[in-house]
Symmetry: C2
Subunit: 318 residues, 2 copies
């Protein structure tokens, strides 16, 4: 069975997510029409490519979830409330079972965060998905990478390394447990945390390329600052700790991405607030180190010894 | 020579298009931050895939132009003033010469329409480009597909069929002249026309799938209306007329897309205004037929005979 482009849109995507009154015109015209009111608009776009960001045979429900989740994670890092998204999907064939599962994964996540799918494009070609997500913040309240200052405390949400571990184990054909696999396939965008950090965090970023590379973006954007990070303070899951025991292995996972936790900085005076936010959101927020005026990222082990990182996060074309 | 993802962004795209004061934060954070003021936001996304929308060896300058132009064309059809865009580009390799030409084509068009590139994604994979364009209209003034009423006059801008003819001639390995080739490779988004048609046109669409299919979108969106279109009134270039002489050949070009002219409807009382707009913009606007309450698209030849179309525009997966 083959479906036309318009049939795919009508059947799977014409009502997807939460129908919002501030969307004046959604799917079905040359463009969507939105009303912003008195807020700032936050816009991000991320692409997932088969064979690069996911396995060619990836389960479509998870893929539908993930391609939106990684974009919502960028909105979270900006402290934005998600509002709308567009979906450009390129498919080798129009398989109804695949599309049905993909659309369920995508639209369920959209609904759960109040996001409306407002447009996009459906084309034939190598499997690839590019989502643009739009969110809103009160004027001037968006979080940026650029506001860290020396002595700020550096925090991360949740646990780090699970997604990278899952990817490693799958690549080596090991069997892995569902918890770890979910962390790779179905990341949770930390939207509530992003909203709670408005006017509290001095800088924020989501961890997509690995904590080492992503923290470095904060350091650079904040004016070539440095950081001291303590390896034994980096939060890992019990499953991670079972698989990854040696110090230099743990260190290498600082370069593993795809966790989609937030890394953020706060002035020391606001650390009590972070404890309160953690309790309120039932989300672990861990102090992993501090910002310094001395440039460079320094990783310390539990004996105070300085460790060196070999590479800097995932990059395409290198 | 190979370039990293971040080097590509810095070198080719970090300042692209017109730097706008209403962009509070552009490329370089988790997302861009925009201020909309008291207007409506128009959002569209279109993807071009190598081997589907363009030849694998397509000249990169034209490709950079075209991937933005097709999105600006959607904004034109909404009567929106272009403001910002994001660019997701997937490349098999990072060839500096290719990237330089592509970026010039893209950024020159952006600059000429006051558009700022505010973000996107650069990934490795099969060649494909997905652009999201954002535009602005005064509140409630966007053009839609849905406002046509019986007896409205149907107009098209420019000439139709050149892009389809160029594609046909290239596919058959004929040599073609530059004028025709430009119409396929470097379409002109009809932004000024879209702006002029605000509060004048009753419905509008851009011609990307062929006049037959695109006019049908207006008919469906306006409540299952019909149209009478006169084949000999459809404007063609002199080059088109030289190549395409027979009535049934001309008819088949009603299914050829990629012209990116606008098709729009106006109440009969406003046709004088259309003549004035045409003169002011130095752009041919041709009355090709009329909206009817009787459903269906009827094509008439110069003897008044009804002609039948065999297929309905370009669709993926059929």
């Amino acid at each position: 069975m083959s479906l036309s482009e318009f049939a795919i849109i009508n059947k799977y995507f014409s009502t997807c997510g939460n129908m919002r009154p501030d969307c004046l015109l959604g799917i079905g015209d040359d463009a969507a029409l939105l009303r912003i009111a008195d807020r700032d608009l936050v816009v991000t776009q991320d692409t997932l490519v088969a064979g690069v960001h996911f396995f060619h045979n990836a389960e479509p429900y998870g893929l539908g979830h993930k391609c939106l989740a990684v974009n919502l994670s960028d909105l979270a890092a900006m402290g934005a409330e998600p509002a709308w998204c567009t979906l450009a999907i390129t498919l080798p064939t129009a398989d109804p079972n695949w599309l049905d599962a993909f659309a369920r994964g995508f639209c369920q996540l959209a609904t759960s965060y109040g996001v409306q799918l407002i447009g996009g494009d459906t084309t034939k070609g190598p499997l690839m998905i590019s989502v643009t997500a739009l969110g809103l913040t009160p004027k001037w309240q968006a979080l940026r990478r650029s506001g860290a200052t020396p002595h700020d405390h550096i925090y991360v949400s949740g646990n780090l390394g699970d997604a990278g571990l899952a990817l490693y184990l799958l690549s080596e054909n090991y069997t892995i447990n569902d918890d770890i696999r979910q962390r790779l396939d179905m990341p949770t965008p930390r939207i509530a945390l992003g909203l709670a950090l408005r006017q509290i965090a001095s800088a924020a970023i989501d961890i997509s390329d690995g904590i080492a590379a992503d923290l470095d973006h904060i350091l650079q954007a904040s004016g070539n600052l440095g950081a001291d990070v303590y390896l034994n303070q980096i939060p890992n899951s019990a499953a991670f700790a079972r698989h990854v025991t040696l110090e230099d292995q743990k260190l290498s996972f600082m370069n593993s991405g795809d966790d989609y936790e937030l890394c953020f900085t706060v002035p020391e005076s606001r650390t009590v607030t972070i404890t309160e936010i953690s309790a309120k959101l039932h989300l672990k927020l861990t102090h992993i180190g501090n910002i310094s005026s001395e440039p460079g990222l320094r990783i310390h082990n539990k004996d105070g010894k300085l460790l060196s990182l070999h590479k800097n996060g995932y990059q395409h074309f290198t």
